[in-house]
């Protein structure tokens, strides 16, 4: 297995500027550097509001950092997410960089099964194989079979979250970002998610996670990373 880090964050800074509120500047972090190697699960630590999710979203390309670079090893080449063109970022997300958020973005009329299969279909996997894997995963996550053909809009928070998890773990992404994937799950489902994370780490995935649940954190973290150490001066 390669020992190159899969994520290299260098000198990253993020300040939000709210132009419609007297251009108020909200500095979040600065001079932040972080490397994550295959098999590592780095858990972001720090109290609420310290910028854990902002860092995660900056790495995913969802937020635009003010300074610095985020390089992700994609097809053997480092792609700087902060500089790459939109189609390049989308390609990195499609094939290399998975993201599990707390919330599911529901698309009207699309069934749960379709939603979970989508990442495989986008990568050219046959519909039969995608469906078989989606069913295996949804069963493992104990989502009732009667729900599979329904759009998840009306599901409970915990059910939607399990759909989200199934959608993200159906592919073996080399790099995964986990933003509180177990937030609204019961103990049994949390244990299943822990197993999925451990299996992915065993395959050599590199992960960055936010977990408020200490049991989950202790079960998966290979090290903690304190975001507050990089707090930007206001």
């Amino acid at each position: 297995m390669s020992t190159l880090p899969l994520i290299v964050v260098e000198d990253l800074a993020k300040t939000f500027v709210l132009h419609n509120a007297d251009s108020a500047a909200i500095p979040v972090f600065e001079r932040l550097s972080l490397e994550v190697s295959p098999g590592e699960c780095v858990v972001l630590a720090g109290e609420s509001g310290v910028g854990k999710s902002t860092l995660m979203r900056s790495i995913y390309g969802n937020y635009l950092p003010t300074q610095g670079s985020v390089r992700v090893l994609h097809d053997g080449v480092y792609v700087d997410i902060t500089q790459a063109l939109p189609h390049q970022v989308l390609d990195v997300r499609r094939r290399t960089l998975g993201y599990v958020s707390q919330f599911l973005r529901v698309i009207p009329r699309i069934s749960t099964l379709q939603l979970v299969m989508e990442p495989l279909l986008e990568n050219g996997v046959s519909s039969e194989e995608a469906q078989a894997r989606a069913e295996t995963l949804l069963s493992a996550l104990r989502l009732p079979r009667a729900h599979w053909d329904l759009p998840p809009a009306t599901f409970s928070g915990g059910e939607q979250q399990r759909v989200n998890i199934a959608r993200s773990f159906i592919r073996n992404y080399p790099v995964m970002l986990l933003d509180e994937p177990t937030a609204s799950l019961d103990a049994e489902n949390r244990a299943i998610v822990v197993t999925l994370i451990q299996e992915a780490l065993g395959r050599g995935a590199a992960m960055i996670g936010i977990f408020h649940d200490h049991d989950v954190r202790d079960a998966v973290a290979t090290r903690l990373f304190g975001v507050s150490e990089f707090k930007a001066a206001a």
Binding site: S2, L4, F16, V17, L18, H19, N20, R57, G61, N62, Y63, L64, R71, H74, D75, G76, V77, Y78, V79, D80, Q83, A84, L85, P86, H87, Q88, V89, L90, D91, I107, P108, R109, I110, E122
Partner: protein, 273 residues
Amino acid sequence: MDAAVLTKPHPTSGMTQAAPLLRVSNLTKSYGHVVGCRDVSFELRPGEVLGIVGESGSGKTTLLNAISGKLPPSAGKVEFDTSRFGLTDIYGLNEPDRRRMQREEWGFVHQNPRDGLRMRVSGGANVAEPLMNLGDRHYGRMRAATIEWLERVELDTRRIDDKPRNFSGGMQQRIQVARNLIHGPRLVFMDEPTGGLDVSVQARLLDLLRELVRDLGLAVIIVTHDMAVARLMADRLLVMKSGFVVETGLTDQVLDDPQHPYTQLLVSSVLQI
């Protein structure tokens, strides 16, 4: 894997750069002293969906019309990778060649189905017409293709001979979509395609469009003032204000972390339900 990649000067150079399907350079359209759009440049790749957003009067439709060959620009160029001539300035083509290229390789879905359909002929004839325009004279084959497309846009094929006015607004819009996709275009322009529809009908049409775009690998330029439509459909966005492009980028980045004051205002003005 080679550690040398770490020291490459251009970390993204390993990614293949496909030729653009469309290249717009310094496009400007003014009406006398009034600026429709000014100095707009971008490239579109095969299979890419570009959203143009901004409020009414920001120049979205002027830009779309100038790009799609309907409105000669005051300055600048629109180049398209035509199958006959390669990458060509579309306004440099003579009129018959340009019209042929538009018929063969493009589609245009209007906001109002009445602008995109012929209201005096049947729904089926509307769908089949592009094939006929491209020289198909085999009635059975055209009818089969029409039925297939009516099914793809979820219309009752028994109504193939009904006139467009006998269909609801949402159905008319689906006829227009079928009419604009049946000939296998490589680039489709859409001007507020869900604009005049009820929300439930809108959701269904969006869903259908999203599926078709993915299955056919279409490149699309879609104009919308609806941020939810932009998020669902577009890979990347151009935000327009007063004829200028004020911000561009990956759709979710522009909507979740807008940089320009106008985009921030636009995004924060969306009501949550």
